[in-house]
């Protein structure tokens, strides 16, 4: 973190500096963003293989399934397209969650924020007509972003005004959003004509995020949300580490008392952090509806808002880390599909491996204990790892 400038005044005793060191992460530990997840992934695959063996999957099939996973995630243009497509909403929502983490807030509500954002995008994308794509597309994305921000800000306001814990309020807002979606999808101005089940009308062509590789092959689903994702990573990096607001977020997250002394308004910071987190989750919902699904249905968010919490944790709440973690999760999803096709291994195995990766990442000491050479060598001077 670039907050060292604040520590002017009398020289700090070295013991105190050492105490503070782990809290000051960011660029110094950027390499840890790579090595720890890789080690965690290796362990997860190892245990995944053991679990497969325990469920009487033949060893050859296990190897075949890992090959299929690599093949399905990065082994072809189609695989890369699928990995990136799956990563887009994970990274966007993950950025929001990571930003809230930095501000000391546990935003468990990304799923709900995605739901309302995506729903708003869907509505705007078929009820507004006669616009060109240059106006319509940005409009629907902004609507999704704004509604997501407002929805998350409710939890922020409740915390700032009444002290209601954001974990509880965002979980409750998730539940409300799912029922709201069910209800809204049955309203005549939203429901698709001729259907009695909850499903929205289709997104108009002018509100679709164009598929950027369609000219190569009609089955490549990668859409222009990729650029939105990359831009969001850059913007959030700037916001967190280069702007005054981001500094306020980080200081509030690490030491609310110090933030108050420094004249940072706690309530406003909470609401702002939640609103930006919600905006990103809303944008994630918007890109799913506009770029991938083309309509809203019950459960269109598919738990991405919850997976994004894992992505934010895995990425250590650092925008670049979140980008990498999102790509990894996207790869696991795309690769998992191939694993099922080629080796007939259940898709549930992927869920287990994702969980194992999270467990190992959440327990860095455990991973260091298992691979002492990996981490010791690195400290001596930048060795390559696998």
């Amino acid at each position: 973190m670039s907050g060292e400038a604040q520590s002017s005044g009398p020289a700090m005793p070295p013991e105190m500096k050492a105490l503070l060191a782990p809290a000051i992460d960011s660029r110094s530990s950027l390499r840890e963003l790579f090595i720890l997840p890789l080690a965690a992934m290796f362990l997860a695959m190892l245990i995944g293989a053991l679990i497969m063996m325990a469920t009487s999957v033949a060893p050859a099939t296990i190897l075949q399934s890992f090959i299929a996973m690599a093949h399905g995630s990065v082994g072809s243009l189609h695989a890369i397209s699928e990995t990136l497509t799956a990563a887009i909403p994970l990274v966007l929502a993950g950025l929001g969650i990571g930003l809230a983490f930095r501000a000391g807030l546990f935003n468990i509500g990304a799923e709900g924020q995605m739901v309302v954002g995506g729903l708003a995008t869907a509505i705007a994308s078929f009820s507004v007509t006669g616009l060109s794509i240059w106006l319509h597309l940005p409009l629907v994305l902004l609507v999704g972003l704004a509604i997501g921000a407002v929805y998350a800000a409710i939890a922020g306001l409740l915390k700032a005004a009444t002290g209601a814990h954001e974990v509880i309020s965002t979980i409750m807002l998730n539940l409300i959003s799912i029922r709201l979606l069910d209800y809204m999808l049955r309203q005549p101005f939203i429901q698709k004509e001729g259907r009695s089940d909850p499903i929205s009308k289709a997104v108009l062509e002018t509100a679709e995020l164009p598929r950027i590789l369609e000219f190569l092959d009609g089955n490549l689903r990668l859409h222009a949300g990729l650029f939105i994702m990359l831009a969001a990573v850059a913007v959030i990096y700037w916001l967190l580490f280069r702007s005054k607001l981001g500094f306020a977020f980080r200081i509030s997250g690490e030491n609310p008392g110090a933030a108050r002394y420094a004249g940072i308004r706690a309530g406003l910071t909470i609401v702002m952090a939640m609103a930006i987190a919600g905006a990103l989750a809303g944008l994630a919902g918007a890109t799913q509806v506009s770029g991938v699904l083309g309509r809203a249905t019950p459960g269109f968010t598919a738990g991405i808002g919850f997976d994004a919490i894992a992505v934010a944790l895995l990425g250590r709440s650092h925008p670049v880390g979140i980008l990498l973690a999102g790509l990894l999760f996207g790869a696991l999803e795309a690769g998992g599909r191939q694993m099922q096709v080629d080796a007939g291994v259940s898709i549930d195995m992927i869920g287990i491996m994702q969980a194992l990766i999270i467990i190992f990442v959440a327990a860095p000491l455990l991973v260091r204990r298992i691979f002492p050479p990996l981490f010791r060598e690195r400290r001596r001077g930048g060795d390559e790892h696998d």
Binding site: P59, A60, L63, Q64, F66, I67, A68, G72, S76, H78, E82, T85, D182, R195, S196, D197, P198, G218, N219, R221, Q288, V292, L293, R295, T297, P298, G299, F300, A302, G303, A334, R337, Q338, Q340, V341, D342, G344, S346, I347
Partner: protein, 341 residues
């Protein structure tokens, strides 16, 4: 460490060879399941049985992909296109849009979808639809004849035609019993005129299956037909607890008395939707080159739908009722009985 790595590398190489050797079969049939999963004891599993039967009978390869959410439909179909499938079978009305999109973008590939017939037809999609209302009509008649309380019930997963076809048939079967026998058996949970009734809103929650059956039971129903895939297993669990004298279940899709070994003796009968037989037909057509877009309809006449044996209730169902049910079957096939009310 290095030893381990070396072993791993050679293992990977071996697996590569295995993979390339295994991929040389002549014909591959692939299935995408709906969110219920391949082992839903219902329509996904029954359709997969059609693929498995074909694997045995025709010596083909079979693969499947499970959808975990609606967002998986399109990527799953795409993944199978990449996997060089000769025919792709998607299971479920909810996959209709995704299948149409995929079929449109890949006119050279063959698709078949369970529970959907496109209008207008798509040249490379063969829809498989079922006159389940015919078989459910028979089940409704039996239920009306067996009910002690004079109240029977039904509920569905989602209000879509493949689900409500069961409920329509069940309702009119009960109504037919009332008109023939002068009884006044009520049907709770579905009104075919207003198209409104009880729906769990999902095809997954066993808890919902239990709660909905409990509600119907509390309202006096002693026979319940859940039309929601695995959700019905929850209803059957309740019937096991209450005892089959208090609550009986009418299974759907497959013969649930055989499928659901956790709840023996609660299924009065089951409304069979023989997706395995139509899936097999479709695969046969794709293999011998007679495949074309359109639809095939499973009916009582071609054994695409039917009702399961009474199993443990065989002695409890009066012989006269059994005979009447067989007359109704003949009447529906001959067209002398109208299952639409």
């Amino acid at each position: 460490m290095f030893m381990k790595k070396a072993a791993l590398t050679s293992g990977i190489a071996a697996a590569f060879m295995l993979a390339s050797a295994g991929g040389a079969s002549a014909f591959t049939a692939c299935q995408v399941t709906d969110v219920g999963g391949i082992d839903d004891s219902g329509f996904n599993e029954t359709a997969w049985k059609g693929v498995q039967d074909s694997m045995k009978s025709y010596g083909i390869d079979g693969r499947y992909l499970e959808s975990q959410s609606e967002t998986d439909y399109e990527p799953n179909l795409n993944a199978l296109l990449d996997a060089k499938c000769d025919i792709i079978i998607s299971v479920g009305f909810l996959m209709a849009d995704a299948t149409a999109t995929s079929a449109g973008a890949n006119p050279g590939a063959k698709f078949s979808i369970v529970d959907m017939a496109y209008d207008p037809t798509i040249p490379n999609v063969l829809g498989q639809v079922y006159a389940t209302n015919q078989a459910a009509f028979m089940a409704g008649y039996i239920s009306a004849g067996m009910s002690q309380t004079g109240v029977v019930g039904t509920f569905g997963g989602i209000n879509i035609p493949p689900v409500t076809a069961f409920m329509d048939g069940f309702y009119y079967g009960v109504a037919y019993h009332n008109s023939q026998k002068g009884t006044n058996v009520q049907v709770l949970g579905w009104n075919p005129e207003s198209k409104e009734g009880l729906f769990t809103g999902n095809f997954e929650s066993l808890d919902d299956g239990r709660a909905f059956a409990q509600n119907l039971y509390d309202e006096g129903a002693d026979i319940v037909m859940p039309v929601a895939g695995p959700v019905g297993l929850g209803s059957a669990a309740l019937a096991t607890e209450l005892g089959p004298d208090a609550l009986k279940i009418v299974g759907v899709d497959a013969d649930m008395e055989v499928k659901d070994t956790n709840n023996p003796g609660v299924y009065l009968t089951s409304v069979l939707k023989r997706m395995d037989s139509t899936v097999m037909q479709v695969i046969k057509q794709a293999m011998d080159g007679t495949f074309e877009g359109g639809m095939i309809v499973g009916t009582l006449a071609n054994d695409g739908v039917g009702i399961a044996p009474y199993h443990s209730f065989d002695s409890a169902v009066p012989a006269a009722l059994k005979a009447e049910v067989e007359e109704i079957r003949a009447g529906i096939i001959a067209g002398s009985i109208n299952v639409g009310g």
